[in-house]
Amino acid sequence: MKTRTADVIIVGGGAAGTYTALCLKKAGIEPLILAKGLIGKSGASIFAGNLNLHGHVFGGNDAEAAAMRDYIVRWYNHYLIDQDYVLKGEQWTEEVYYPELEEAGLYFRRDDQGKIVTSYGLARCAAVNQQGQSGILLMDLRRKQVIQNGIQTLQETAVTSLVQNSRGEVIGVVALHCPSGEVFSVQAKRGVVIATGPADRLASRATGTREQSGDGLALTYRAGGELLNLEIQWWHASDFKWPPCWQRMHVYPNPLVGTAKTARMYNSDGEQFFDQSTDTPNSFAPYPTQLKRLAEQVAKGKAELNGKYFTGYDHIEPEALRKYARQLKAFEKVGLQAKTARVETATTWHYRQGGINTNPHTMETNVPGLYVAGPVGGHNNGSLGYTAFDAYTCAETIKNKPAPAGFSTLPQAVLEAERDRVMRLLRKMPANGTPPIAVKTKIREIMYEKMGFVKSKQGMESALDDMRRIREEDAPRMGLKNVSLNENLGWQDALDVYNLLDTCELTIRSALNRKESRGPFYRTDFPDTDNENWLVKNILFKGGDGSFQFRTEPYRLPYYQPDFKRQKYLEVLW
């Protein structure tokens, strides 16, 4: 097996991975980015329609800075966040992130007088060039910066396993380069960074991109890393139901940049059940509120989580809609006029607020040599500004640790075992075989059905049972018609099945352990938000005997505290 070397291996090529690499390179440390997809194309980063404005950047006042902070702590992370981290991140984005981006050429949209165009309301966002494009242009810049700075990257390359020495320290990885079918290892001198993002594509309707299968979480758990709050799983409530590939086409509820107008939602009888400007005027991203109102309609039989409810902008005057023209092209493309149409929408599995248990001030995990950057960590939900802050922090931590003299040799037996495991999955279809993609689809359908927004103990335990059966009965039967090494996506699918199974099982178990409902996490058997007992990290880790272990840790609340001890979940605004 060929072995490469790098000072630092970065798993993931999105906003977190690329910026970590840029910071390390600037410090004279050689990173290697291993991206399962394509840098600037796969993953969640390109989806950002706008960039959140933190602090006083672009002339923000104290009230605006405070509103964004409130949004991050309360509405976006449901108090499950280190509040000092929130303040530090805000300061860094104001001082470094935005100036650096503008200096590099990102154009934060102005009007014809040169004033920046921001969203209406105290919590501000701005568009890079035009609303809807910001993530695309940011990641295009990062991709070009990575190449320009001579940073080594391997795309369409999936890390299959972390490699540890006898002390449990992560010293390298094994990976599969899909275009060539080569399985190889990489030695890392100064650490491995997991930067695989907040989206997992664990359900049949998900905002995660095609290739995602919970890899970062599975890799970390298997290496002895702790995970937390996996059950705090966001959903989009207003994504197009049709066509099927537009499950990620979001009918934004948020105030349209520059206007006070928002989308409205209607049940199957045409009755309005959500309007942000009246339901949650102070929320910047009101998705949990949308979901709660939707759940009420579902309970009345006037909507389903998978459709039969509608979202539209038909109440908004055309001049305001014209500012949103780009987003409305989707309506036109299916023959609808946005000014008169309400489109059928459905819930879509979105960002995971939880993730890898990470020290937000250093980006270290409990596993030596293993770091995190960005929202694969459970310390924050998906947010590009904070993602960059994490990347900067991670690079600083690595930089400030003394570099070892040389590379640690990767244990040969471990490499051989992993190579065998990976190669075994490239095999011809047996007599009673099943295609790997069929197994992935099956897992995702179960997750959408039984781990949907409205959960119950019975549904979750049934899902856990399904996962066990798939692992025991379906996965061993996987096989392929074409076993060539050339860009074999079916082989990649087979590997993904195991990461999917692991991450789904961990998510379900974590959900069963949290005995409350909070933010986007709703279970009907514990329908209260319980700040007395459950304003805690719900941490899951592998016990010595390989069993699933839990522990909790409370969050410190130095600046922001919830204003109730216990309240019915459906009545909580956030």
Binding site: L38, F47, G105, Q133, Q145, W242, P243, G335, N486, N488
Partner: protein, 341 residues
């Protein structure tokens, strides 16, 4: 449904062509309904085991508002055919799902499925497997053009003073999602190694910075030599296929040419010759154009000249006899009326 006049007001080459061929978005949406079946003939090739591409045909049930990508996903995920096709976002952000449908470049997540489709990979790029092409030649061309902003004035700090009006030119190019549809459609790139033309897409990426007033670099050499922009024949095929509807010729290529000409008018030879011939004869004369821009070098390709003559593309006798069209006086009057022509 917009009238033809209303549709013409939208005035894009792309839209005009589609309306004329009864192939506009509206036309396509109405061709299928639930209960119908789509016939998809898909191109397959695994270069590691196949000697040549071959086709397979699948019947796919139509679902509401079905996109081409949904048809492909039905084949690869529903029917579990091991068909390799790239997509990540499904919503016109990542730009990785561009293919050719019935010969035309199409972003598969964006365009409606059609009752009968032949689906093939993009042109001008090596095929890795089935519909997946190697993006590297395109990415390399983009980087060669230096697509990062080069400030020659010090950055004044956030926020710098800039207006939307000043950014408008670059703003068009910023709609690009690097889908390479235009790169596939460009007929000049059919010439392969015989041309140095970068193709339209790298020029769009270049325009993002070259038309940005904050950029201070002299990019003449990049535009003229590295990109060989004068080899663009302004055929508008790139504009016709761009899913982001970027007016590539009028808002990217022409402004870049103008930028190059402003720095060095001598580079205007092709454009100047073209205009001169149209003014003299009333319409373009290809052989005269070749002679004016290439001079005697043109005579080094007698075989090509013979082929063109036999197809009626050129008529050397007419060229040398100085023919003009009837009504050439009106054309010359138009030229006088237009400033700077």
């Amino acid at each position: 449904m917009a009238t033809l006049t209303q549709q013409l007001d939208r005035a894009s080459a792309r839209y005009l062509g589609q309306v004329e061929m009864h192939d506009s978005n509206e036309d396509r949406l109405n061709r299928l309904k639930e209960g119908d079946f789509i016939t998809a003939r898909i191109c397959r090739l695994d270069p590691s085991i196949d000697k040549a591409p071959y086709f397979e045909t699948y019947r796919v049930p139509y679902v509401k508002w079905m996109r081409v990508l949904d048809v492909l996903i039905h084949i690869s995920e529903g029917l579990c055919v091991e068909y390799a096709h790239r997509w990540y976002c499904g919503v016109k952000k990542c730009g990785t799902c561009a293919v050719r449908v019935n010969g035309r470049e199409t972003l598969s997540c964006w365009e409606p499925a059609q009752p009968d489709m032949v689906i093939e990979p993009l042109r001008h790029l090596p095929v890795v497997r089935d519909l997946i092409v190697d993006r590297e030649p395109y990415e390399r061309k983009v980087m060669e053009l230096g697509p990062l902003l080069m400030r020659t004035q010090p950055y004044p700090g956030l926020p710098e003073y800039i207006t939307d009006r000043e950014m408008r030119a670059a703003s068009y190019a910023m709609d690009c999602i690097n889908c390479m549809a235009c790169y596939s459609a460009c007929p000049v790139l059919d010439l392969g190694t015989e041309t140095n033309f970068s193709g339209p897409a790298p020029l769009v990426q270049l325009a993002q910075v070259a038309l940005d007033p904050r950029d201070g670099l002299d990019r003449l050499s990049l535009i003229e030599h590295t990109a060989s922009i004068s080899e663009c024949v302004s055929c508008y095929r790139c504009e016709e296929v761009c899913p982001a509807e970027i007016p590539i010729v009028s808002r990217v290529i022409e402004p870049l040419k103008a930028l190059a000409f402003a720095i060095s008018p001598a580079n205007k030879k092709h454009q100047a010759a073209f205009l001169e011939i149209v003014r003299d004869r009333g319409r373009i004369d290809p052989s005269a154009l070749v002679l004016k821009t290439q001079g005697l070098r043109a005579l080094l390709s007698p075989v090509r000249a013979l082929r063109l003559w036999m197809k009626g593309k050129i008529s050397p006798s007419k060229t040398f006899l100085g023919w003009t069209i009837p009504g050439v006086e009106q054309v010359r009057r138009l030229f006088s009326a237009v400033k700077g022509a």
